[in-house]
């Protein structure tokens, strides 16, 4: 077992990327992820690997496209408004099936916002601001230890599926320090020799020349490409869903939360249990593919779901679609860099507990609770 060291989240992520075999890093400064670029500028040259401080995030992500096109482990890191600048390239990467890795350490928005922690970029990461029907694989750690593990996994999945993959952390995770066990990289990066455009074409080893492009003008090329991509996304959805359940099976109130918020929620669950309220947690680890089936199963028989996010319910839309009305779902949100505190969660759990434990509350005031109509069959006194 490797020993634990006290480390900042951003540095741990950067070290993990190097452990995974990162060959090329391209970045541009933006808070709260600057330690990643700084770490890379120190460490990559020592290892004879590439570090470039690009002229913009547009440049950085397009350098990433170039390097990853040759089958080289490459990444960029950035935050919110600057990840916004990268969306065109991420769509192009998905189209040309290039395995670029993007580390996104969220700050608070919208606009330039500020540098406080937020989860306001769930839509940006999972739905993408780029054009067309593409998907980005998105992994969301809730501890620094997990950030290391998921950084490894992000590289692995990017290459396994030849798809852009993103590690989505928030400013809190990037900036805080905690004891980390930097386990050695134990995954095998899938072979890229069958697709990489590494310039060793016909005449040398007789393989056909390769074109990694995102323009498809000929006949029905684009139709076929889209069908192929959708089949791939189906395979990813089927095989790569990750989530954590904590005291969820017998819970009456099931919290859904990701990232750092899930940590706060976890201790709130424990407190609620000590107060005699059966609370539990369902934490999606892959935000795309979202654990829809698994959440639906977990939601069955629950009195309600409490969805907690540092945004106005962006993940809740996925959760709502997933549970398909098997139980009600409520939102506890904090915006603009505010953090949700354990006490606030417990208060909300108490409120929901009294609201949903007694059917009388609902039937006394039917008009006010119209939205819960579909789920009344699941409310038990």
């Amino acid at each position: 077992m490797t020993s634990k060291i006290l480390m900042k989240g951003n540095k741990a992520i950067a070290q993990a990327a190097i452990n995974a075999g990162l060959e090329c890093y391209f970045g541009y400064p933006i808070t709260p992820q600057n330690e990643i670029g700084e770490f890379m500028s120190d460490e990559m040259p020592k290892l004879g690997r590439t570090y470039i401080s690009a002229e913009s995030e547009l440049a950085a992500v397009n350098m990433l496209i170039g390097a990853a096109s040759t089958g080289t482990l490459s990444m960029t890191s950035s935050s919110s408004c600057a990840i916004a600048l990268m969306q065109e390239a991420i769509s192009a990467m998905a189209t040309a099936e290039i395995p670029g890795v993007i580390i996104s350490v969220m700050r608070a928005g919208p606009g330039l916002g500020n540098i406080t922690p937020s989860q306001g970029d769930y839509f940006q990461a999972t739905k993408g601001g780029g054009n067309g029907d593409y998907r980005t694989i998105v992994l969301a750690p809730s501890t620094i230890n997990e950030a290391v593990e998921l950084t490894y996994k992000t590289f692995y999945l990017a290459f396994k599926y030849r798809n852009p993959a993103m590690l989505l952390a928030d400013g809190m995770l990037g900036q805080m320090m905690e004891p980390v066990e930097l386990k050695p990289f134990d995954l095998k990066i899938p072979d890229s020799s069958e697709w990489e455009a590494d310039g060793i074409g016909e005449g040398n080893n007789k393989r056909p020349f390769r074109k990694l492009v995102s323009l498809h003008m000929q006949g029905n090329d684009l139709i076929l490409l889209n069908e192929k991509l959708q089949r791939k996304y189906g395979t990813i959805q089927e095989n790569e869903v990750m989530y954590e359940k904590y005291m969820a099976d017998d819970a009456d109130i099931l919290i859904t939360a990701f990232g750092t918020v899930a940590r706060v929620a976890k201790s709130a669950v424990e407190k609620a249990r000590s107060l005699g309220i059966k609370a539990g947690l369902f934490r999606p680890i892959t935000l795309w593919p979202f654990p829809s089936e698994e959440l639906k199963d977990a939601a069955k028989g629950k009195k309600t779901i409490l969805n907690i996010e540092l945004n106005e319910g962006q993940m809740m839309l996925d959760a709502k679609a997933a549970i398909d009305g098997v139980c009600p779902i409520e939102l506890l949100s904090r915006l603009g860099g505010a953090i949700v505190k354990e006490g606030e969660i417990i208060e909300k759990i108490k409120e929901l507990s009294s609201k949903y434990t007694c059917l009388k509350v609902i039937s006394d005031n039917p008009s006010k609770n119209e939205s819960q109509d579909s789920s009344r069959g699941h409310i038990k006194c």
């Binding site: 590439t50 350098m63 990433l64 390097a67 080289t72 590494d198």
Partner: protein
């Protein structure tokens, strides 16, 4: 006698290996792209680097390169070809990497990337086709359109008070310390084509010798965009465009850095 006939049948002209055997020629009559793409293919063949070259495609008519080059090709978004090329070259430093861009790509939307790549002294080659308009989208004014030039967005001619002044991208690149060789040529008569090929060859050789960033801007005709006949277009390059975007070697420090 037989020997003499054989001599007479000697192969004097053929398709470069770097150009695919069967392709649909995508360019308009009188367009300069076809000529320059052939010149690049000839240079790649002559230098024997087909099997180790990666071409970076860009957006505009230049993207047609994807269709008929027998090379590994990586595409890029509009204006970002030098960044993609940088990524490829840093990942595979022993390969030959070049971008093929128009003036819309390299001098308009991608000016920032062109300049920074030159400043970094990235050891790549950029061939920039300057036809002073956006050809693919129907002939709108670009950053390099000359004053008075009539386009679909400057119907009364480019007016500096309304549309600003033309960008002279080669001169801007030449100001960057990392650029070792910058030349502007044109495609308007046989001599100019020979000169262009020599410039392209030098730009590739510089990269092979590890000298740094080379930039060749080629003034090319766009008869469709300019609404001129192919012949008139060649005259327009010689008499009008090359008076603003002046021909010649703008910078060459290749023997200094050797």
């Amino acid at each position: 006698m037989l020997k003499e006939i054989k001599k007479e049948n000697k192969l004097v002209f053929s398709r470069p290996k770097t150009i695919q055997e069967n392709y649909d020629y995508p360019f308009c009559a009188g367009c300069g792209h076809g000529v320059v793409l052939r010149l690049i293919a000839e240079v790649i063949d002559e230098l024997g680097i087909q099997g180790k070259t990666i071409a970076i495609a860009s957006v505009g008519c230049s993207i047609s390169m994807e269709k008929f080059y027998d090379l590994d090709i990586v595409g890029s978004s509009h204006g970002r070809a030098p960044c993609v090329a940088t990524g490829v070259k840093r990942a595979k430093p022993d390969r030959i990497v070049f971008t093929y861009q128009g003036d819309g790509d390299a001098a308009t939307i991608g000016m920032n990337e062109t300049i920074h790549t030159a400043c970094r002294g990235e050891n790549i080659t950029t061939i920039c086709i300057n036809n002073t308009n956006f050809g693919m989208t129907g002939g709108q004014a670009s950053a390099t359109s000359i004053l008075g030039q009539i386009t679909t967005t400057t119907k009364k001619g480019r007016d500096p008070k309304k549309n600003g002044y033309p960008v002279k991208i080669a001169e801007m690149v030449a100001l960057c310390d990392g650029a070792v060789y910058v030349e502007r040529t044109g495609i308007f008569n046989p001599q100019s084509i020979i000169k262009t090929k020599a410039a392209i060859k030098k730009a590739f050789l510089n990269q092979i010798n590890g000298l740094g960033f080379s930039f060749v801007e080629v003034l090319c005709a766009c008869p469709t965009g300019w609404k001129l006949s192919p012949v008139k277009s060649l005259e327009y390059i010689q008499n009008e465009i090359s008076k603003v975007h002046k021909l010649g070697i703008i910078k060459d420090i290749t023997n200094i850095t050797e």
